[in-house]
Point group: C4
Chain length 263, copies 4
């Protein structure tokens, strides 16, 4: 695959992934959305089928890695690092485009949500909060549509949760090749991987919101910081390293196990 195909494929694919993944979070969260309150099952299936859609769209161009954890794990198991930066750049750019498109698709909902005093508080309440938060701005009310955050904030435990979740994802991705060997069914891999992502969402998403993908978390967090959303609050940068480092450690662990036990 050429570098330009890889870059374009990863950019489009990751944009679709985040558009649909962030989209389901917006759909379930925002005021004036028909899907408001649809709950965690909608979140888990939404992100899973976001992966499915993105994988089949970008597969023919770039092989659909769409996740720095996948890219690093494949480099660690194959030993080939030459195109890694092309993948990573496409993934980060795509994630940012996808997050911006969520804002476009849900523009009216964001406006309705972020100007509702019952949701964002009155002017006085927000001013009071702002004064207190001067040194440590809290996560804003719609940051969860862009990036992940922990329910119980504890860096070590949050990191462990992301490591465990990503370990499962990456081991499933690496073993896809073994399952498809000699069956000509490689094209099924996108469906299987999508259902694995549903599984991880249902089973391991509870504590931190399962980033399991550094680009999925960092790109939209940057977009959250840049977008002109009224009353958006902080982007929770103090947490931002966890969903980057955790998935990379989980990927490295899965690649190590794969090299020892499966290769």
């Amino acid at each position: 695959m050429s570098s330009s195909d890889i870059f374009i494929g990863e950019t489009i694919g990751t944009a679709v992934l985040i558009l649909l993944g962030g989209g389901v979070c917006a759909a379930v969260t925002l005021k004036a959305s028909k899907a408001r309150g649809a709950g965690w099952l909608a979140i888990a299936f939404g992100w899973g089928f976001a992966v499915l859609t993105a994988v089949y769209i970008s597969g023919p161009l770039s092989g659909a890695q769409l996740n720095p954890a996948v890219t690093i794990a494949l480099a660690l198991t194959s030993g080939v690092w030459s195109q890694v930066w092309v993948y990573l750049l496409g993934q980060l750019l795509g994630a940012m485009i996808g997050a911006a498109l969520v804002w476009v698709a849900y523009y009216g909902q964001f406006q309705a949500h972020m100007t509702d005093p019952e949701i964002v508080g009155t002017d006085e309440e927000r001013a009071a909060v702002k004064a207190v938060e001067a040194t440590e701005p809290a996560a804003g009310p719609v940051l969860g549509i862009f990036s992940t955050g922990p329910e119980v904030r504890n860096a070590v435990m949050n990191l462990l949760t992301e490591i465990v979740g990503t370990f499962v994802l990456i081991l499933a991705v690496l073993t896809q090749g073994l399952n498809a060997k000699g069956t000509g069914l490689g094209v099924l891999g996108g469906l299987i991987t999508a259902l694995v992502v549903v599984a991880i969402g249902l089973s391991l998403g509870g504590p931190t919101g399962y980033a399991i993908n550094p680009a999925r978390d960092l790109g939209p967090r940057i977009v959250h910081a840049l977008l002109p959303l009224p009353n958006k609050g902080g982007s929770d940068w103090s947490y931002a390293w966890v969903p980057v480092v955790g998935p990379l450690l989980g990927a490295a662990a899965a690649a190590g196990i794969y090299n020892v036990a499966f290769a």
Copy 2:
């Protein structure tokens, strides 16, 4: 494929699509339906598996396009326009038949729902509303079973939402061929496309109800205007152009990207 196979296939397929798609909206909405209140997850899976059912039924006859946005995008990428009108006519006719069949299947539920004063108001209330609405009739209480409508009415934003949703659908449809190439797995395409439609419903359906198909919206809207439903209210014709134009623009954008980056 012969013109008659195409016309019959698209008519039957789109009728099944709208029967099942409109059916799930009826099931979740109407009084005296066992599925009442089943929520957005039911809607999203219902429409997705409606696509699946319709695709496998009509695929052998017409190739199962079932959506003017798909037909236009395939013409734009293949350059072949000769049968386009046969597809479009079959799709519109099928959508109208399907919407009428929803009314047949849920006849008792429509009757119970539309004569319940708690739902449609008392005679006096309806008369008062009618007087006010003389110049701009609002969407009726079951129009959502037939056609889509926005939660926040803003033509530009609603159009953008439909463009974005259809863009994802069409790009996924166009790249199916690339995924199936050489694997003999073209028959899986219906399942993948169905899950993409579930994804779009979960993730991008919140603002406008995701028409992403001009025939899906226009055909049933015509049937809503014609059916003898008691207290049915207006068919919201002022919005009707958005779910026609938006999907066609989204399809054109996806075809353009496909021609540049994938072909």
Copy 3:
């Protein structure tokens, strides 16, 4: 396939179908069930995956028809009627065995449910109801775990709803063969059919509970009439012909369309 393989396959397969299909109704309905209140989405997926399980178990033995509507439609399109009665007998026997197994698996739940005065009424209330119902016994409180029933009782409309639902099912089953032709993917048919059944459940199940299979309704109704359930109430025999005749008419209509347009 030998007659004995057909009979055994259809008996086991339909027993599994009804065990799982009736089972999900019990799971969602009965007191002291962990799944109580899981709702219509659980019902629709439960019946769909019941079909999937039953089809893959009985497919190798009997071809997994499991439904008199399927058997009649295949006979009408193939012209081969020689084994039809073997199929039908296996299906009815299997459906009865499956319904009895639901009772076995949920024995404690049935006991808890049917002796709870808040659910079945006090002794006096039941006696009063019985006196009124002497001539027309109503459907009992757990009949829905065994057989279907209408939300709005109207024989013509209920029949139409069953005809429409079965028509979709049978057309999807008949066209499976065309989709699989030359692709060697016939084995996927069970999955596709299962998702079609989920679709029909979500979209057309609201009015009558979607029998779409005479054996699925009649066999368990007989078992309901025979089982020693406390306070079980009537088996609603006046409705029993609808879910038998409707599906057969829907199957005949689908076979007719298939012979004209697809064959």
Copy 4:
């Protein structure tokens, strides 16, 4: 397959199965989990896709039996018992590792949940309960994240429920080989089996929580007894034999039917 590949594959696979299966129970149950209250549909899909993930990860190494009931049934139908103990040991070890990983991933949630007086009672209340339970310690408040338990406690009926559920699972697993014969689609078996597990969860999980796998229940129960969870309560050892014996009897019954009717 070598004994070491089998042992490693079954250990990793069963660890993933229980990590994701126990994980969804934690996600839906525990305080401070984003998925809290997601309900039975989440449980059933979570366990089903846990099976899917575990099967595709361990399939290439060990064939992904992951369940002593599967291992015994395959030995009974094939007559080959030589590696059975390797499978069983890997499964039990893996189940224990998986249960411990659930505790790691949800550490903060367990802490928050188990120290909340509204959930575990005040110190006085717990002391009072403890005094009464001296001879028969009840199941603790999070035991359900580790092991199964009955809603209506009756050894015979609970055993029957587990026998019926496992019978369906094992018959579906045994017939997979027949479905795949000559189609090269063996790799689809994991997806089909996963959906069968969803079916069993939805349909037969209500009374006992569907162990249908001795290792799935016993391994995590041992871990529950060992873990330093505050206020964890009893591990309900008096019930522990049911989800071991029931699945084995169900497996034997399915193997018997298979040998008579299908082989």
